[in-house]
Symmetry: C2
Subunit: 338 residues, 2 copies
């Protein structure tokens, strides 16, 4: 179903994106929790990308992409489709770059996400996700109005922008004298994974890199196993990780991931809930379910942690208060205390 | 009611504490939120001490104090009284220093705080806060068992340990080229305020320092105004800031505060709730009510922010999940959206 596109993204592209983002994106901290280290028997370094503008890493790629447009294209405006983090990241980047933004969002997206996107100055076009395809609406609108499309992951500038997360992780590890054995990256379409893998492979080639996805949405893991594009089974129950539900890896991101990743992990909704609660109780960080997948992998023993230095990215914190409240006040009967 | 004790605490004491804490305490990040800057019209630098061991700054002073004890005293054990953050900070520090810890806690303290303190290896002695005074029980137990008392704030080693927060703030400001016009410090007995004021007065003398307290518990603000120890009115309604309910400034902390602080601010429970919710929604940080007092002062216009660089400390994140859930899902009718 997908044509592979071999688009080379180099460490130089990521360094250029980092220069562009300096002083604009938040240089998010790499934090460490003695309690988490003790619990896992390893050294876990947490890139808190939840503290990025608009609460997720998505701002980085969006700003890098929109900056790359020719001045008149940018002034004419851009268009994106997203039900969540990409929408807000694009809207914020477009506003900073004085580019009018149109965001195509499903009519039943959470009201707060629609409101936030509008508050960032974007025009929101709603569609019915059961009868219409957002790509079709987006492409038609973009053509009618002459807008440049800002894709969520399958674009070299987007990937290079997200890769600055990996570059910062490497710099921050060096400053504290840490050498990462493993980097875990939450994965939907693979933009963050491909970008960070490119950065880390260049700067810290001994680090093994794994994608982390929700159960039933582990298309990247299965694609890495088979070496070709795998798609999630139709009719799978929705995951609590609404940000990680892409159906198949991207045509630009997958060739990069196939070359640079050691494999893919997956986590259950129950493991993700426990990780969100752990982040609240112990790390004191607000993480959305999809943003906590790698933390869930570490807490659930999906990867060996004892004696290892493991970097993970908390990739987003945009969670509805009602869901967050439910997660932190509910402890499954099967769970151990604490 | 209180005898003033002029105990000199110097920047050298704080630097010594910082050396001792290096590699033991978390060097918590100084974070910045473009959304908060835009909202306030200033540059707000947030010291996320919520990310400290045991979720508050209290570990710093406790570790510095217990380290200062003679080896046989330390081996014999220590005693502290606290219903919350000091209990956990002392228990964690005592365990690292192999000092048996006895913590006197009210019988009706939140079960999670008692459990956490026990999980950190401390012996918890419960008392009835309506019929017994914890200072009396603590002093009696300490004498019977020959335990060293680790006071919550009125101790030079405690104050110097908490002062390392101020030292780090100054170092982190310098690294990003920021000069703070104002430092806001949440205040109960005044250990954090006295320590940070000593550090900042030495390193950044142009910075004005203010304490922040809850409404009805603004004994420090009124004491700074009058120049003598003021006490909170009996029968005041309890504050949502359970960590900030001291009745009068400390006998060691107040002379320092009187010399170095520009004044004291106070915030209402409603302002604190809004700050906790803002930290959840926008900063993606978990803050307990008492830890959010300074953020509340900034968000509520209790201090001029426009064009100013203001540092504030999120001093603790130990909040019961049920209360946090209630705060983030409830928006008062009088509040503006967002």
């Amino acid at each position: 179903m997908s044509d592979t596109q071999h688009v080379a993204i180099t460490i130089a592209d990521i360094e250029a994106a980092a220069d562009l983002l300096a002083g604009v994106a938040v240089r998010t901290p790499l934090v460490e929790s003695p309690a988490l280290n003790m619990r896992t028997g390893g050294r876990i370094l947490i890139k808190a990308e939840t503290l990025q503008r608009t609460g997720s890493f998505k701002f980085r790629g969006a700003y890098n992409k929109i900056s790359s447009l020719a001045p008149d294209t940018r002034a004419n405006g851009i268009l994106a489709w997203s039900s969540g983090n990409h929408a807000q990241g694009v809207a914020a980047a477009a506003r900073l770059l004085a580019s009018p933004a149109v965001i195509v969002m499903p009519r039943d997206a959470p009201a707060t996400k629609i409101d936030n996107t509008r508050a960032l100055g974007a025009e929101v076009v709603l569609y019915d996700r059961y009868t219409e395809r957002r790509e079709d609406i987006g492409a038609r609108l973009a053509q009618e109005r002459g807008l440049a499309i800002v894709r969520p992951y399958d674009d070299p500038h987007i990937i290079a922008g997200q890769g600055t997360v990996g570059l910062e992780i490497d710099e921050q590890c060096q400053r504290i004298g840490a050498e990462a054995d493993v980097l875990l990256v939450n994965c939907s379409g693979g933009g963050l994974a491909a970008g960070c893998a490119t950065a880390i492979a260049a700067r810290s080639p001994a680090t093994a890199i794994y994608s982390v996805e929700p159960e039933h949405y582990d298309d990247m893991a299965r694609s890495l196993d088979s070496g070709d594009y795998e798609t999630n089974a139709p009719g799978a129950p929705p995951s609590i990780c609404d940000a990680l539900m892409a159906q198949t890896p991207g045509t630009i991101t997958f060739p990069i991931a196939r070359e640079l990743l050691s494999g893919g992990l997956s986590v259950t909704d129950a493991e993700v809930r426990r990780a969100v609660r752990f982040a609240f109780e112990t790390l004191k960080l607000v993480v959305e379910p999809g943003g906590a997948a790698s933390l869930a992998a570490v807490l659930s023993g999906r990867i060996e942690t004892r004696g290892k230095t493991i970097c993970l990215i908390l990739s987003g914190g945009n969670v509805a208060p009602e869901l967050f409240a439910e997660i932190i006040t509910t402890r499954a009967a099967t769970e151990e205390p604490g």
